[in-house]
Amino acid sequence: MSLLEVKNIRVSYKKRLGIDNASLEANSGEIIGFIGADGAGKSSLMHSIAGVIRFEGEVVYDGIAYHSPKEAEQVKPFIGLMPQGIGLVLYNTLSVGEHLEFFADIRNVKKDEKFQAYKEKLLHMAGLSAFIDREAGKLSGGMMQKLSLICTLLHRPKLLILDEPTTGVDPLSRLELWEILDSIRKEEGTVILVSTAYMQEASKMDKIFLFDEGEIIAQGTNKELIDSIRPYVYEEVTCKEECLSFNKRTYSLKPLHVNRAEPTLEGLFFVNALKKKKLLPQVVIAKRDKEIAIPPVVMQAYGITKRFGSFTANDHVDIELKRGEILGLLGANGAGKTTFIKMLLGLYPIDEGELTLLEKVIKSGDDRQTLKSKIGYVSQHFALYNDMTVRENLIYFANMHQIPLKTALNRIEQYANELGFKEYMDELPTALPLGVNQRFSIAAALLHEPLVLFLDEPTSGVDTIARAQFWEILKKLKEQWNISILITTHYMSEAEYCDRVLLLKQGKKIADDTIENFYKTHPDAKSFEDIFLTYYKDVE
């Protein structure tokens, strides 16, 4: 019998399903991975197993069965739960040492020599030994996550539940987090349930569960899963029906007469979508209404600096955005990506540095007034007016940009068709799937046919397929409109789809080059993840 058995868990919220019919088994020392988009049901399942929310079904841990949070009380001493969100369990004004004392106290851990030794070991593993006296609020995102993790480990839980511990964390800290997990499960025999937004982390898991819309769509080892879709993956080819192409591969349920390609884990989501026939419609981008002359260099910035009190969010960052280029601004949470974009847009004043936008030197807010109609912006979480329908939102934005009503209506109609959200036109944004919201936000930013597009984390939390198609949209936009795009993301793997990438770490630029050059200078790197890791290590 397995140490942990989860049987037919179902969690439903007022309006939607959290997770349905989820079952799994785990043995001592295993790392079980949950992969899926926001709202796919990972957290619901984790919280059910941790016994912190109401659920239907049964969980059996070490022979103790529980069906409700109340019954789960008896296993709580063995469980460690780290909820989603960086530094959520930490107190900003307590130091690292005080945190460890506090978490040991609330878990009623006896502070004997053994505990002290264990604490030292954890601190050492997390690389926090030198920061015992530093306040948690002053740690970087990666350090916060490591501190959260060792705080969760203090009472030596036998069942460790980690909800997206690595999301938005820098690649180096992510590696270290995984190393800690690996040694803990080996030494303590802990069952570790961990969810992640990054496919690349799958190789570190013993068993993988893929989540989509409240359902587990596949499970197995990394190899099993990849093998399961081998028959459907081909080299990229143009095809029409029941197939889709992405990232140099074409997925098709019908046999194609081309060579097969090596599948990847994310391919599972594509194949699943093909099988269920629930793809978002393909996109088409037509030419601009009228061609506009765009300068060869759209934006230049030198030594851009932003300080919030004693904290430097951006430290002398240089950037150049050329015509028709997709520039990726990569970095972990807190690396200064959003601050940087906000300075470029004039939402934050620039403390130091020079900025030239569309050949105009920006000195004051008035300089920007005429440029506003040439810039499109999609903010984090697709902020739109939630009490107006998609159509009303778009008409409102068109009016704000003073587009003649007839042109505006035509354009809205056109984008709705091209970007495939026509059927959602009369719904409120809150009722839409994230992927559709993402498309309609970009339509709102494109209404006035801007010359340059700023996108702040447009792919965060969105499911694999919607993300893939979103990148398709950007690529086509670039080709058809010759538009320049500056996009921020914390998915290192998305660097692949950019023309050039700028890597930020703690407000400083640590790398800036074209994709080809990155590959040339790092011939033995397997993925972008590896390339960026070398830069992170260099700066360290």
């Binding site: 906000k342 847009l345 004039g346 939402l347 007034q369 005429t370 506003k372 109609s373 810039i375 912006y377 903010s379 984090q380 979480h381 902020a383 739109l384 007016y385 939630n386 009490d387 107006m388 009303e392 409102y396 934005f397 009016n399 704000m400 940009h401 003073q402």
Partner: protein, 359 residues
């Protein structure tokens, strides 16, 4: 101008879509004003009187027969003063009358007769007004040979009815509070939802955005005022309107703009709707207290009297009362209009600049 109209209509649409907000506004302008107007009672009504009569009736019963409805319930008899005191203690009776056994003897023989009156002074105003009633009854009862008659003329409010005053004052307070909160919310909601940045990046003059957004909320409040006047002030309480309706609407419009200025200030310093609610109350309470809404200005401490000159609500209330009860001519309303306008312009400009800095 087209943009202005566009933003106004968008804000009105969002307002109508947020059912919670619509309900709050409807409640404030109707039920709240009605409850305030009808609920606060200073006149005695249904007062329970208890008595102990040791005289065996006669004069005492004659006096008691003058206590009739709707002010008083039929008096209840108690057998001893102890029983009466207990009843007052238990709040069963508010006023107790004790006729001692020598009361009638003294009265008949022309000596000083005495009625002992027990009042539950926790219901202060009701019991004290009852006292005045009783005194009047006794004065009526004595046939005094004194060649002086008091003939009173009640001006402006012939029924000396305080429903109309209180309902009207409540309406004015509601206008103040709502315009501040609504104006602040239209801005702060954008901050909360993250649409603020997008709003800033549209190539529209920020001044137009601020003006249009605050104007849309003034419109909502003006509509609420019309509702409240129709259903509650004129409908339920039959308040007389001796002056010009349009003068009142114009004064309300100017006043709303001045309060919108406070709303802009609140919006500039708050991060979320919760803070708006807290801050609005903190700012509005002194303004309402200083305005003379609840205590007449002349009854305040001299320092507060001076401070009240800076509350636009003071001019608004005095102006409104002049229009409704005194029927003052439009031209003679200038002190109130200028008070509201001057303070309003200053407040609005201040709020405008404060929020303008965020653009």
């Amino acid at each position: 101008m087209k943009i202005f109209a566009m933003i106004v209509s968008k804000e009105l649409l969002s307002f109508l879509r947020s059912i919670g907000l619509v309900l709050v506004v409807l409640y404030s302008f109707t039920a709240d004003v009605y409850i305030a107007g009808s609920g606060i009672q200073i006149k005695p009504r249904n007062v329970v009187v208890g008595y102990v009569d040791a005289t065996g009736g006669g004069v005492s019963q004659k006096i008691l027969s003058k206590l009739h409805q709707p002010e008083f319930r039929p008096p209840v008899m108690f057998l001893s003063q102890k029983a009466l005191s207990d009843a007052i203690f238990n709040k069963e009776v508010m006023v107790g009358l004790v006729f001692d056994d020598d009361f009638e003897k003294n009265y008949r023989s022309g000596k000083k007769a005495q009625i002992n009156l027990l009042l539950d002074a926790t219901a202060a105003s009701q019991s004290l007004t009852t006292l005045i009633y009783l005194q009047n009854i006794i004065i009526d009862f004595q046939s005094m040979n004194f060649p002086l008659v008091l003939k009173s003329h009640k001006l402006f409010n012939q029924n000396a009815d305080n429903h109309s005053f209180i309902a009207l004052t409540e309406l004015l307070s509601v206008i103040t509070l709502l315009i501040v909160i609504l104006t602040a919310i239209v801005f702060v909601k954008e901050k909360e939802d993250g649409t603020w940045d997008i709003m800033l990046l549209t190539p529209v003059n920020p001044k137009i955005i601020i003006l249009a957004k605050s104007f849309s909320q003034v419109l909502i409040v003006m509509a609420g005022v019309v509702l409240s006047l129709g259903f509650v002030i004129f409908g339920a309480f039959d308040v007389p309107l001796n002056g010009s309706f349009w003068a009142f609407m114009l004064l309300t419009f100017f006043y709303s703009i001045s309060s919108a200025g406070i709303g802009l200030f609140v919006a500039a310093v708050s991060k979320n709707v919760m803070q708006v609610a807290q801050l609005s109350i903190i700012i509005m309470m002194p303004l309402i207290f200083l305005s003379g809404a609840w205590t007449p200005v002349y009854a305040m401490h001299p320092v507060f009297q001076t401070l009240s000159l800076f509350s636009p609500l003071r001019y608004y209330i005095e102006g409104t009362e002049s229009i409704f009860f005194r029927g003052t001519e439009f031209i003679d309303l200038w002190p109130y209009f200028s008070g509201v306008l001057i303070l309003g312009t200053l407040l609005y400009l201040y709020g405008f600049r404060k929020i303008g800095k965020l653009f």
